[in-house]
């Protein structure tokens, strides 16, 4: 079916229709029998938060946009921890976004746990309590800035893409971009699988602007030469198990009321692999998972599912799962190296946003990616719309996007926390220090009839034999520079 005849997909039709009417896996995405289809101002690859934001932003400026997604529906391939932190970008794209988006719980409680062999130690942050915040989703933005929202990507991404369709975006699902269409040194469209769906792609869709939002593997930007392929020490593998419980059990176990949510990050649960664990609450499910730097995973050679098995059985996690039923397992990569992995962000005819640009990070305390994806998608749309208005898609024109990104919180935060991100690439943090903290806290609370000592001395005892004092001081300074000044 040639795109030109897919009228209902473009302007308006019912959103659900358009999603369902995407090309079928059988037919592949045919765009007019081996030839090329045109008429689009821009093609956005990937209907994740970055791509949908970019498509929405362009459509609002009157551009004719094609949004390609390889999944059967947007979100089919996507998984995250996860909690979406508040950011203003989606509100600019979808009025009433925070009231309307299909989120699960509004997070009011954040826990950081350091797991040792015999014990674990936690730091709990609790935003203003329960019932006062029961209408959290509808609160003011200052109210929301302390909150985040847990959600399911297959539901959220699909809903968000429907908003784009309602704004006039043409969404084509079950359609994998095979690569870029290059002409005269500029990107002029994408290659997609032909009718038979054979790899290699014998159809092309042309447009003067392509926005690559294809996620953490970033194959399109790599093809365009914007980076040389992300490296194992720049990305992490996340695995997640989803457990079904009741809403009441979750509220009781985490001390929550109504649709309040909690997140719990764990350090020291990865058997020396750089990374951590997480537990996130949805309405009646828990997401339990691990994140592991790929180079460290390779070095330690522990299968992720074995580590997961031990994590769910561990002292702090097992009680949360009593009576819960395992209902899904998933895996996904995430960028982890901050500004060290930021690729060139544009080329003639091409912009890159979201995970594909490495805009995702953790500083050990928070994990952010969705907000960065949406913000970069929005800014890509802004620069793209200006380029469209001027009919100028040259590299210098599109380089304005990098400038916009540098001004936004995305690249600023990645710079602010570059030392924290570097620090999270030290093995000691994941093996030695959790042991030190646990040993110290065990000393603090141990009562065995022997005289106690003050904390500094206990600390020294806990450190001895695990981390050399010189190293400890050097690391303390590193932590200071990473987080404090």
């Amino acid at each position: 079916m040639p795109l030109a005849t897919q009228k209902p997909l473009a302007n308006g039709g019912r959103a659900g229709d358009a999603v369902d009417r995407g090309a079928t896996p059988h037919g592949g995405a045919s765009v007019g029998g081996g030839s090329s289809a045109g008429g689009f101002d821009a093609i956005v690859v990937g209907a994740g938060p970055a791509g949908t934001s970019a498509a929405l932003g362009l459509a609002q400026k009157g551009a004719k946009v094609l949004l390609l997604e390889r999944g059967e529906y947007p979100g089919a391939k996507n998984m995250f921890g996860g909690m979406m932190a508040y950011c203003p970008a989606p509100e600019q794209l979808v009025p009433g976004f925070w009231e309307r988006a299909p989120w699960e719980r509004a997070v009011t409680k954040r826990v950081l746990s350091i797991a040792g062999r015999e014990s674990s130690t936690s730091l709990v942050f609790q935003a203003r309590s329960g019932s006062e915040r029961s209408s959290v989703g509808a609160g003011s933005s200052s109210d929301r800035s302390l909150t985040g929202f847990t959600l399911f990507r297959p539901i959220f991404d699909r809903w968000y893409a429907e908003q784009a369709v309602a704004a006039g975006v043409t969404l084509l699902t079950s359609c994998r971009a095979e690569g870029l269409l290059m002409r005269d040194g500029a990107v002029r469209g994408v290659r997609i699988a032909g009718g038979g769906g054979t790899a290699g792609g014998d159809d092309v869709v042309e447009a003067p602007l392509v926005i690559a939002c294809d996620g953490a593997l970033s194959l399109l930007a790599q093809e365009a030469g914007l980076h040389g392929g992300f490296k194992p020490d720049q990305v992490a593998l996340g695995v997640r198990a989803l457990y079904l419980l009741t809403e009441e059990d979750i509220n009781e176990r985490f001390g929550l009321a109504g649709r309040e949510g909690a997140t719990n990050e764990f350090l020291g649960c990865t058997e020396g692999i750089r990374g951590g664990g997480f537990v996130y609450t949805q309405t009646e499910t828990l997401s339990i998972g691990l994140v592991m730097h790929l180079d460290s995973l390779k070095q330690k050679a522990i299968p992720p599912y074995e580590l997961m098995e031990r994590f769910v059985a561990s002292t702090p996690v097992a009680p949360l799962l009593r009576g819960a039923r395992l209902v899904e397992y998933s895996a996904h990569l995430l960028p982890e190296a901050g500004v060290r992995m930021t690729p060139r962000l544009s080329a003639a005819g091409l912009l890159v946003a979201g995970d594909a640009a490495g805009f995702c990070y953790t500083n050990g305390l928070t994990q952010e990616g969705m907000n960065m994806a949406m913000t970069s998608g929005l800014l890509a749309a802004k620069v793209g719309a200006e380029a469209l208005a001027q009919g100028d898609f040259t590299a210098p024109r599109l380089a304005g996007y990098a400038k916009e990104m540098k001004r936004s919180f995305v690249l600023r935060d990645l710079r602010t926390f570059r030392r924290a991100i570097d620090f999270l690439h030290h093995d000691r943090l994941f093996e030695d220090y959790p042991r030190v903290v646990s040993a110290l806290m065990e000393d603090v609370y141990r009562s065995d009839g022997r005289p106690r000592t003050k904390i500094a001395r206990m600390g020294l005892r806990a450190v001895r034999g695990v981390v050399p004092i010189r190293q400890l001081i050097a690391d303390a300074i590193r932590v200071g520079r990473a987080y404090l000044w």
Binding site: P25, G28, K77, P154, A193, T285, Y329
Partner: protein
């Protein structure tokens, strides 16, 4: 273990053609065989008997770990054709 139940836990639409192809000859000289323990879906296994790495694509979660960890270029790696492969859902 979760990976033992992967086909009960994860929904797939499996394409008859594999989306990843492994050149087992190239693996012969590999010293780490990272794919065999790092793949979260256990798609790669070392067969003592046949003294080679075996690969099955059906349970693939499309994460890309094997692509990034293989440093010998043994893989011809693609996402599955549009509409195929894993489909995450809510229970």
């Amino acid at each position: 273990m979760v990976v033992d139940e992967i086909f009960e836990l994860v929904s797939y639409r499996i394409h008859p053609e594999p989306h990843i192809r492994l050149n087992q000859d190239v693996c012969q000289g590999c010293t780490h065989r990272a794919c065999t323990f790092a793949c979260p879906a256990r798609c790669y296994t070392w067969s003592e008997e046949r003294a080679r790495v075996e690969f099955a694509y059906e349970a693939c979660l499309e994460c890309g770990t094997c692509l990034l960890l293989c440093d010998r270029g043994a893989l011809d790696w693609h996402y599955p054709q549009g509409g195929y492969g894993v489909r995450f859902r809510v229970a």
